[in-house]
């Protein structure tokens, strides 16, 4: 299935800003994070279609997955 993956902040370094990528049916957000070798301890928020989602949530054809770093501090 085709998933549009949007990366934010440091996750873009040596990767990309936005890309449409192929994944097997049933792929979870975590699987995408791991496949991109993004350290999960840096992942703060996962959005699917612009809505907050869980890292274990399964993706569907055409989803837009955004992976954001942790927000915090001042």
């Amino acid at each position: 299935m085709k998933i549009k993956v949007r990366l934010h902040g440091v996750f873009r370094i040596d990767r990309f800003k936005e890309q449409v990528r192929d994944y097997p049916t049933g792929t979870t957000a975590r699987a995408v994070v791991e496949q991109l070798r993004i350290p999960t301890r840096l992942v703060g928020t996962v959005l699917i279609g612009g809505v907050h989602a869980g890292i274990e949530d399964q993706l569907a054809e055409g989803d837009v997955l955004s992976i954001l770093p942790i927000l915090g501090g001042g």
């Binding site: 902040g9 440091v10 703060g44 928020t45 955004s66 954001l68 942790i70 001042g74």
Partner: protein
């Protein structure tokens, strides 16, 4: 401190802290060992100072009745990672109720002043009254304990925060410093004076790399008292590092909690600057006085864009393994590092950059440096200036002050300089007073008189119950943006249970980056207290103490005349919802806020009984 018990929760009076009270009017000093009343006293910081403030009747911040309390926390100056904090508490010239009474406030800062202060043997220093002439205080080790002396400070007047520190450095070897800038000296027209704290990096390099206890105008209170600076001179007194604390520190530095703050080159998230990227995904980066426009303008100050033209050096506070400072330097033609420009933390960068309509890193850096050198709280400064710009945008025919508008760097700079030099009280006295004077209060972005940090209030109704800095005394600023919570139950639980725990760091002497998600009621802190202080405390006891300290702060706000109607958000949030922000608008609706308020007070109010002593 002296520990005559290893169980401070059960036997707080068997823990004594060493206090010096200075009467600035007469120069008299009183030294005493004071038994702790409760675990809050033991942990220290605002947990103790707010209990002292609660014993006072203070109707004006600039009065003899208002003390300045300087103290540290139990883990300041220990081997616990980030144990460097010093605290400045008093009644604020800036934050106050509509009844006209000043709110109690504390502000916290890192650098090395706190540890040196602790190493002198003093736990707390209270300044009463005001000196007839400008003085600075020297706290040093004496043969029989700490000694505090007052010295003439006329030669320091008019110097920047950095220059005051470097001047004192020449006289006092082995010392660290706390100093106000010109803003604090002009306390009558500037209520947002900060206290600058020296760092090893600063003293070694000569670069103006201070840290700041900024919120609430404690630098202005010092200025009122004619107390221009503090010197803490002592040899370092760290215990040998135990295996237990070593393990904690490794966890703090390498564990998940601080990963986002570590340098990108070391696999970290690069510090709080990363908030720009996260918030921009929701179009929630404060822009032009907290009105995000739904465009990509904020991206100009993304780290990835600034790095194209500037060198960014990652640095840390003394002995801290969390290398969270992003110090921005010029990039020379040959690619090497040039002059230090400013430290880019999220708050100052946004509130003296994007939120003023400025998207050039050099301009933002100049304003940050000016604010730091004049010694002003960058949050209050930025938000008050953005109010001016917003007024002028709305009223081009009758602009305030020099008529500055969003993006007009030169005129914005004039406002910052003028406020720092005490010439522009309209800015210097903060956005609450300015908006009351203009009669247009709905877009003054303060809550209860203290300006908001750089998180849109539409995303954080928890601001209403913060008892000091809006995001550092109530950690709900990520509940919607980061965690996606928009239901009432999550917000009630966050405000009344989990997110208030952040204030614990401002009791115990640790920086919040120690473990910002969990607070101090953790096994890591228990282990540090056991190893460094020989104290046996449970996580429940710590959590209970933190909660009491928070509620005491809330009770004090009510005592100082705040009504429940003042626990709210800037009216513009409700009157003109911003459709550009791509988050569920529900938490910013008047209906949600009304129900949230009812539920939150239903939890808090019964617990406020009996927390405050009567005025002494």
């Amino acid at each position: 401190m002296r520990f005559l018990t290893s169980h401070p929760a059960a036997e707080p009076a068997a823990v004594l802290y060493h206090r010096c009270t200075v009467d600035l009017r007469s120069g008299a000093m009183r030294y005493e060992d004071v038994p702790c009343r409760n675990l809050e006293d033991v942990l220290g910081g605002f947990g103790r100072s707010f209990q002292q403030l609660a014993e006072r009747t203070v109707t004006e911040a600039y009065s003899d009745a208002n003390p300045l309390i300087v103290n540290t926390g139990l883990l300041t100056g220990t081997n616990a990672m980030t144990g460097m904090r010093a605290y400045f508490s008093g009644f604020s010239p800036l934050k106050g109720s509509k009844k006209g009474l000043p709110a109690a406030i504390w502000s916290a800062g890192s650098g090395n002043f706190g540890a040196k202060f602790k190493f002198t043997g003093l736990d707390e220093l209270i300044f009463e009254g005001r000196s007839a002439g400008p003085v600075y205080a020297v706290i040093r080790e004496g043969a029989d304990g700490p000694v505090v002396e007052l010295k003439p400070a006329g030669h320091l007047l008019g110097l920047t925060t950095h220059d005051k520190i470097m001047s004192l450095k020449q006289q006092y070897a082995g010392a660290h410093f706390a100093a106000i800038g010109q803003a604090g000296e002009h306390w009558e027209t500037n209520y947002m004076g900060a206290v600058a704290l020296s760092t090893d990096n600063q003293l070694r390099s000569g670069e103006d790399k201070c840290r700041f206890a900024g919120r609430g105008g404690m630098g202005s209170l010092m200025g009122y008292k004619n107390l221009i600076a503090l010197v803490a001179q002592a040899g370092d007194k760290l215990k040998p590092l135990s295996e237990a604390v070593k393990k904690v520190n490794i966890n703090v530095v390498k564990g998940g909690g601080s990963a986002r703050l570590q340098p990108i080159k070391r696999g970290g998230g690069g510090g709080t600057w990363a908030n720009y990227d996260v918030l921009q995904a929701f179009h929630a980066v404060p822009t032009n006085n907290f009105r995000p426009q739904g465009n990509d303008l904020p991206e100009r100050l993304f780290r990835e864009n600034v790095e194209k033209t500037h060198e960014i050096k990652s640095e840390a506070c003394w002995r801290c393994g969390i290398t969270c400072h992003n110090n921005v330097h010029e990039k020379k033609a040959d690619g090497s590092r040039g002059e230090f420009l400013a430290k880019f933390d999220y708050e100052p960068l946004n509130l003296l950059g994007t939120n003023l309509g400025l998207h050039d890193p050099d301009q933002a850096a100049q304003l940050i440096k000016l604010g730091d050198n004049y010694g002003m709280d960058s949050i209050t400064l930025g938000v008050t200036v953005s109010y001016v710009l917003s007024f002028n945008e709305r009223h081009p025919e009758r602009r305030l002050l020099n008529g500055a508008t969003f993006g007009d760097f030169e005129k914005i700079r004039e406002l910052v300089v003028g406020a720092g030099e005490g010439r522009i009280p309209e800015v210097g006295r903060g956005s609450m007073r300015l908006s009351q004077a203009t009669g247009e209060t709905s877009y003054a972005y303060h809550v209860k008189g203290l300006e908001l940090p750089a998180y849109q209030p539409e995303t954080n109704p928890g601001y209403a119950w913060a008892i000091a800095g809006g995001h550092m005394s109530m950690a709900t600023y990520g509940l919607l943006t980061r965690e996606g919570k928009s239901d009432l139950e999550s917000w009630v639980t966050g405000i009344t249970q989990t997110k208030l725990n952040i204030v614990g760091f401002d009791m115990i002497g640790l920086c919040k980056f120690f473990d910002i998600g969990k607070g101090i009621g953790t096994q890591m802190v228990v282990d540090c207290l056991q190893s460094e202080c020989g104290l046996e405390v449970t996580t429940d006891e710590i959590a209970g103490s933190v909660r009491r300290a928070f509620l005491r702060g809330l009770a004090m706000e009510l005592r100082q005349g705040y009504t429940k109607e003042e626990f709210t958000l800037p009216a513009e949030v409700f009157e003109k919802p911003n459709a550009n922000i791509k988050l569920p608008p529900v938490v910013a609706s008047p209906e949600f806020f009304a129900e949230l308020s009812k539920r939150v007070w239903a939890v808090f109010e019964p617990e406020l009984e009996g927390l405050l002593p009567g005025p002494g």
